[in-house]
Structures are given as structure tokens and as C-alpha cells.
């Protein structure tokens, strides 16, 4: 559990985002501490995915500020976010069906032999190094994948999700954002992914999980932050709250 006087590893102040006439986010303050799992909940259209996309650089906020490890930072594109050590696992997983597990784990960050400094494009792929790293990471995280050379297209939903989550810890990440990681999964697969998320917590990462499933959220989060119609309406400490209180906050019934 975090101490009130510790600095959050990631914090947003007053984030607003408009899409045309729709106010997706209004003045949202948000924080997550290292070594905690925060659930981000809210009804459809509450702004959860948008907030995650602002933090991950897919969208740029109209106003507001972002702080990382206490420093003010500017995030305008995905690279800014990943450079800081913020990794995101999107709802659609952002996996390539035509690549194998190794290929997917290293998208955009392929290991190379013989690289020419300015011409990274014609660098030689170092498949051996990538495969070795992939295998050891998946083993560390206890992710059961029969062969890292299997093409993603032939894998089950749970395995694909595990690969996507594993990818988020490959790169010295400090914060991981997961958008509905268990939405399409069965019971066993959900358990697998939740275990993986708890492993991230063990590694002292700050973890944010968006979910619709309150029962599940109560199973592995430390705090729950509620968004409603683009605003942050409530914060709960999971251990000292009853699910009904959270539901009331989500739907706005007081």
C-alpha cells in the first residue's frame, strides 16, 4: 500500500480532451504509485480509454499536465510515452497476426547485428538474441507458450493477451496501463492474466487496469478510481470498500 507522502510514479493534473463537440475528459487528476495496482472504472463513455490513450501518447491532451516520477513531462506521441517507461496494452492488443511470438514481442524494437548508426533500416535482425530474450522473459513470468516461433494467429485469446502483457515488461517499463485485459477471456485464462498482473506489481511497477468487471477488480487492485462522464468522481481503497459503493459512484446514484 502506498504512503500518502510518497510521490506518485505517474500523475496527471487537470487533463481535458475534446473530440469535436464531445468532452471526453474534463479536468481529470489521476495518480498511480510504484508497486500498486489501480483499477480505473466507469461506465461506457466515461473516458477511461481516452485517459489511457492520452497517457500513452495516442491522443494529445487539450489541456492539463502530466508528471512522471515527479518531473513535468510532455507526451505528444507514443514514443514520448514509451521513452519514459510507460507501456500500454490496448484493448485490441496491437498484435500482428502474421508474426510469431518473438516478432510481436519486439515490434518496433528489433534487436540487431551489424547496425549502421544512421541507417537503422538496413540493420541485420538478430533473431537468436530476440528468441533467447523472449523465452527467458516468458519463463520468468510463468507464461505457458509451447513455442515462441508459433504464429500469433494460431493462438488462443488468453495466450495472445499474455503475449501482449509480457511485451509491456520487456523494456524497463515503470508503468503499465492495461485496457480491459480480461474482457474476452474465460475463467482459466483470466486467472492467468491476473497472475501476470500481480507479477508486474511484484516488480514494483505502477499498474493501471481498466475493467468493467468489478468483482474481478476487487480481486487484485489496491485502489479504484471512478470516472463518470469524463470526470473523476471517486477514489476507493479496495480493502475498505464494498462493491456496492463503487457501483453507486459509477452510475451516479448517491
Amino acid at each position: 500500500m502506498e504512503q500518502p507522502d510518497k510521490t506518485p510514479i505517474l500523475q496527471t493534473l487537470g487533463i481535458s480532451k475534446k473530440f469535436g463537440a464531445v468532452l471526453a475528459l474534463q479536468d481529470v487528476d489521476f495518480e498511480v504509485y510504484a508497486g500498486e495496482v489501480v483499477g480505473l472504472v466507469g461506465d461506457n463513455g466515461a473516458g477511461k480509454s481516452t485517459l489511457v490513450k492520452v497517457i500513452s501518447g495516442v491522443h494529445e491532451a487539450d489541456s492539463g499536465e502530466i508528471f512522471f516520477e515527479g518531473r513535468h513531462v510532455k507526451i505528444t506521441q507514443p514514443r514520448d510515452s514509451t521513452d519514459l517507461g510507460i507501456e500500454t496494452v490496448y484493448q485490441d492488443l496491437a498484435l500482428c497476426d502474421n508474426l510469431d511470438v518473438v516478432g510481436n514481442l519486439f515490434i518496433g524494437r528489433e534487436s540487431t547485428n551489424f547496425s549502421i548508426p544512421r541507417l537503422k533500416g538496413i540493420s541485420w535482425l538478430d533473431e537468436t538474441a530476440m528468441e533467447k530474450r523472449a523465452i527467458s522473459l516468458l519463463k520468468e513470468l510463468h507464461v505457458p507458450i509451447p513455442s515462441v516461433r508459433n504464429v500469433i494467429a494460431s493462438m488462443s485469446g488468453g495466450q495472445r493477451q499474455s503475449v501482449a502483457v509480457a511485451r509491456s515488461v520487456m523494456w524497463n517499463s515503470k508503468v503499465v496501463l492495461l485496457d480491459e485485459p480480461t474482457a474476452a477471456l474465460g475463467v482459466e485464462q483470466t486467472r492467468q492474466v491476473v497472475n501476470l498482473i500481480l507479477k508486474l506489481k511484484e516488480r514494483n511497477l505502477g499498474v493501471v487496469v481498466i475493467s468493467h468487471n468489478l468483482e474481478e477488480i476487487f480481486g487484485f487492485t489496491d485502489r479504484v478510481i471512478v470516472l463518470r462522464l469524463g470526470r473523476r468522481t471517486a477514489t476507493f481503497n479496495t480493502k475498505t470498500t464494498r462493491p456496492e459503493q463503487v457501483v453507486a459512484a459509477i452510475t451516479g446514484v448517491e
Partner: protein, 407 residues
Amino acid sequence: MTKFLNNSKVWVSGYIHSIESSDLSSFAVFGGLVIIGIIFQIANRNFLTPLNLANLMAQISAIGILSVGIVLVLLIGEIDLSVGAVSGATAAILAVLATTYRVPSLLAILIAILVGFLIGVSHGYFVAKIHVPSFIVTLAGLLVWQGVQLLVLGNTGTINLRDPLIISIANTLIPPWLGWLIAIVAVLVVIYSTFRGRRRREQAGLSLQPMSMVVSRLLLISLGILIGVGIMNIDRNRLAQGEPIQGVPSAVLIFIGFVVVFDIITRYTVFGRHIYTVGGNIEAARRASINVDSVRIWVFALCSAIAACGGIVFASRLIAVNYGSGGGDVLLNAIAAAVIGGTSLFGGRGSTWSALLGALIIGSINNGMDLLSFPSSVKYIVTGLVLLLAVILDSISREQRKRAGKA
């Protein structure tokens, strides 16, 4: 022993699984080629003769080169309908520079290829930055570059090429000793790199393919290369007198060269990996900070530059450039070859070897039907049906993969 069996099991089941879910088309294509060979040989015993095979290979080389460029574009999930027109227009530029303006032929060739490259950059720019669908951009390109070709050729219409360098591009036979040398070097390189890669994996503690699989694969490849060169090194002069005609046609070597070079680029370099990534899931590529605009523009640029090279080979074969250069069946055959050879229309799947395989299939069908004196009508219908079959197989593979993914 158990370890060997277990290793084999994992590898073989993985291989079989990959066949089930995605390589159905490749096997079918290769099988198709074998069947075509058998059918035509039965129908006309001149089909599998060295003379006919060498002619066949030379005939498909220029289109095959264009097809390599098409493969690149298909891999990123786009299409380029302008390759025929670009090949003709750049060949026209080459011809005018070399003959009318007496530009040294090597310089003229480089300029023509550069023009092709820049044409491709313009296509890529409209697709990537202005978000015009590639179908439309390259369709417009087809018309525009065709017009440019007519403009460049002017009223005369035909320009005969006289420069020895340009003529030699597609009209030289590689002397047998050199052909053998290249073949042996190629075989040695393949064997060396296979074992070097294997050693690296061993040192990294990764699983290894069973040696039997490695050896049989290497044997097949080596035999293929040596037999291929061997057939073309046999004297195919049918006349009682005259010099022996033997050696690999230069156009064939150039074609295979393009296939190999771009295969290496797409499968072993970061750029190549990015091509497959963009073709597989462009949004994922974007979120991983891959410069997708740059990848797309480069691919279109390369495709058109390669088309220029193909146009130069065409011109060399004809020893002339005319209004019809790059027109007619060229575009359709180039695209059909890539697709028949196994590159998916939907992006992300395929390799430059499809260009070779597909060109061989289309070329064999055409050649075989010529030997049987079939009219063009039949050739068109058959080729069209084969193309349809190839796309159907591609679609079926795709459905299988999707279903397997949902398991």
C-alpha cells in the same frame, strides 16, 4: 534419443501446424507447378527440353522482375497498378537518353531507375500523407505515366536501341563455367549461413531443428540450384551446325538476383520486418513508434524503381522501346504472378519467391499452350482461372487462420 524425438516432434508439429494454418497455398502452388509440368510434357514432349526451359525462363524474367516489386507492395497491404506504365515510361526515357541524346548507357540506365524511384516516391506520398487509396493513386499513375511514355517517344513511336551495353543486358548467355561458379558459390553460401545460424542458436541454448531436416532441406536447395544451372548449360542448339548455345540467359540471372536480394532485405533486415509489421497491423506498427509513412513511401519507391529495371530488361530483349512497351498483359501478369506464387492480397504474408513461382506457373501455362498451338483465348481463360484458384486458396488459408485463432 528421447530428446531427439521430442525435438523432432515439436519442430515437425510446429511445421505442420504452420502448414495447416498458413502455408496451404505455398504447397498447393508448388504442387500445381509440378502438375503443369507433367501435363504439358505428356501433351508435347518438347516441353521439358533444355531449349524450351531456357526460353521459358528468359521469357518470364522481365515480368518476374516487376512481380518482385509487386510483392513488396502487396506485403504492406497495398496495390500498384502503374508498374506496367512505369516500366514503359522509364524504358522510353532510357531509349531517348541513350540514342537521341547520346548519354553514356550506364548513366542513362541509372537515370531511368532513379526516375522510377522518384515516381514511386510520389505514389507513396499520396498514399501515406494525403491518404488516397493506393488503388486510385496508382490507377492515376498508370494513365499519367502512360501518357508520359507516349510524350517521350514522340511521333516516331519506336526507338531502336543500338548501345551494346543495353543490348547485352537481356541478350547474353552466361558462359557455363561462370554459371557453374555462381551456382557453387550460391550453394556454399547457403550451407555456410545455415550452419553458422545453427551454431549461434546452439551457443544461445535455443532449440535446434533435427539434423536430418536440415540436411534434407540443404540437399534439396543445392540440387535445385545445380540442376537448374546444369539444364541451362546443356547445349540447346538444335541445328546440325553452328556454335553450341549454352549458358544461363543473363535476364534470368538478373531476375533471380532481384528475388534473392529482396528476399534477404525483407526477411533479415529491420526494414523488411517493418514491412511485414505494417502489412500485418498498421495500427500496432504506429503505436510501436514505427515510422509507417516512411515504410510505405519506401516500398512504393522501390516497387517503381524495380519496375524501371524490369522495363529496361524488356527493352533489351526487344532491342527497342515502343508505344506498347509495358502495356498489354504486363501489369496483370505481374500482379497475377505475385498472387499465384503465394503472396496474400490482404498484406503481411508472402515472399519474393512468390514472384519466381508465380512467374514460372504463368510462363509454363503460356509456353505449354503455345507448344500445343492453343489460341490466345484459351490462354487467357486458363490463366484467369488459375489466378482465381490462387486467391481462393489464399482466402481459405485466411479463414482457417482466423478460426484457429479463436480456438
